[in-house]
Amino acid sequence: MKEITNKIQEIASRLLQEGQVDVFLAWEQGGEAFQTRPYFARTVEEAKNLVFNEYSIHNIANSLLKFRDGQEKIGVVAKGCDSRGIVRLMEDNQISRDRLYIIGIPCPGMKDPLIAARNHSGFNKANESEEGIAKKCRDCIQPNPVIYDELIGEEVAPHFEGERFAKVREIEAMSPDERYKFFEDTLSTCIRCYACRQVCVACDCRTCIFDEMKPQWVGRENNTTDNMMYHIVKASHMAGRCIECGECERVCPVNIPLMVINQKLIKDVDEFFGPYEAGMKYEEGVKPALSMYKEDDPDNFL
């Protein structure tokens, strides 16, 4: 990791020095080892603060949205999930390829700084869960970057083992009443902080449906009905877009298993319109599933 950090600092300094990029996106180290967070270096001096360590888990592609209206050239470090996020943003015309210089890093699997922070907070009786490789990384099918200008390190094998949609199948097998109870229980605890939306790289709408007031599509009351409405609408907007980076579930302050919902849609999109896996490959002009229509699309359900 130290070597990767050195390499990133070296490349970032070079790109900033030569004026190839105006800003370079990676991480910086906070006070504690686990307090790693996204950082934007704009000078060679600032490039010395860049790090890549076992807590560089955030989907840094999300930070690109802060630059979508500008002209800056951007250097960005991309793990597998970050690179798929970048592809998504390019497919949605949020950022153009020629503004980006991508440093790909095959991801060894990250630890979750939030689990460490919570275990460290004194708010848990016992450690919340083990501080090993994060769940989202254990579930990852694409640790290697799918798009890059430079690659640091050797490609690695996916961490994921077992049956990918096991939890989805378990819920599909429930009776409608059981299933309703499951979602009622999990979604009633939502506090509507919208962190799942804000960290999502597929949520790139300028005006979000949940912020619209005229008409107001989804009520603001914190109750099971409005919470369910929020999550159902958010999830359906993710169909064909979710790159399975797991950030929504990771940041949720009340631990809602959001990836079960997203995985159901990934599975359905793949079965109905696929084979399809979001953000795996960038081809100019190609749109993700459910982002276009043809006149001869089947409509026998109407």
Partner: protein, 338 residues
């Protein structure tokens, strides 16, 4: 001194629950917060009185996230208020920490002083009793003692309990406190026990002069850099024991409906959106800056106390590692060009 054995704790909750709804810190399913004792299921939930704190503060007891205000009926052009929902049901918050009680005192300032009383808040608050759990050991993110909180003898408590290991020393502070003490009087023993000793804080934050200094720092370039990692979710505001911003909205079915208020967050773009479409805090940085200026400067100017109570929750939950302690330190260190 009066002492409540930990073995009698659940009996005490049951007794208190007869005359009031008792909220206790618990891990309920995936959520850690203050939940009604009557909802406690011993096979699924865990009492969290021994933990430093819970993730969701008790502010929802006096200021629920969603609160129905009044119902409306419409006849032609005439609109009538049908029923108002001021809630006078007695509540007890059991085991709140000093930082969280300070949050409620800050809300008292907002909702009950300066010439305006919020009747909905007042109704809940006047029938609310707070049993504080004194803190003798701070967590890694705790800095309440730097933010005008006394963790071992918190202001605003009606009763203070002090954990000695096997029992709680029970100290009644107010008339409201005497009323709840009377309810469980037969469970209390008279006994001399040694009080715990307060350990020094791991974090000492120098808030002195920060509010005054921030007056000249609205346009300081440091906000650009500080705001960069922030994703503008509202998590910090919803886990905050003192954030009190709300929105009032209406739900109508045909000619019937009700008005309600619900928590809102200054982190949301929609929060400051104006009727004509303008937005004075349209940019993410502006919203970020406002949150910290409100906590550290504006509230202090208006009510002579900071709005941050030093509980450290936002530090523990922030997805992108924003740390208010570091921000206060940077404000202290910042150079201002006059």
């Amino acid at each position: 001194m009066k002492v409540l054995s930990k073995e009698k704790l659940q009996t005490a909750f049951n007794k208190l629950n007869e005359g009031a709804e008792v909220f206790v810190p618990m891990q309920k399913g995936t959520q850690s917060g203050f939940h009604p004792w009557k909802s406690f299921e011993s096979d699924k939930d865990a009492l969290m009185l021994d933990a430093l704190n819970v993730y969701l503060p008790p502010k929802n007891v006096v200021f629920p996230q969603t609160e129905k205000m009044y119902s409306i009926k419409q006849k032609g052009v005439e609109i009538n208020i049908d029923e108002t929902f001021e809630n006078y049901d007695p509540t007890i918050i059991f085991g709140a920490r000093g930082c969280d009680i300070k949050g409620i005192l800050a809300m008292d300032d907002v909702f009950l002083t300066k010439g305006y009383e919020d009747s909905f808040y007042k109704a809940r608050r006047q029938n609310n009793t707070i049993i504080a759990n004194a803190c003798y050991e701070s967590g890694p993110n705790c800095f309440c003692s730097s933010m005008e909180v006394n963790p071992t003898d918190p202001a605003g408590a009606d009763v203070i309990i002090r954990d000695t290991g096997k029992e709680y020393v029970w100290e009644t502070k107010t008339e409201k406190g005497e009323a709840v003490t009377a309810v469980i009087a037969d469970l209390l023993e008279e006994k001399e026990v040694k009080l715990p000793e307060a350990k020094p804080f791991k974090q000492n934050v120098d808030y002195d002069g920060v509010a005054e200094k921030l007056k000249g720092m609205f346009e300081h370039p440091m906000w650009d850099k500080l705001a960069e990692p922030c994703v503008n979710c509202g998590m910090c505001t919803y886990v905050c024991p003192s954030c009190y911003c709300f929105d009032i909205q209406v739900k109508m079915w045909g000619d019937e409906g009700y008005r309600f208020r619900c928590w809102d967050s200054c982190m949301y773009e929609e929060y400051t959106r104006e009727a004509g479409g303008g937005n004075p805090r349209g940019a993410a940085k502006e919203r970020f800056r406002n949150r910290f200026l409100h906590k550290l400067e504006f509230f202090k100017e208006r009510y002579d106390t900071p709005l941050c109570t030093g509980c450290g929750r936002c530090i523990a939950v922030c997805p992108n590692g924003i740390n208010i302690i570091k921000i206060i330190e940077q404000v202290k260190e910042a150079e201002i060009n006059e």
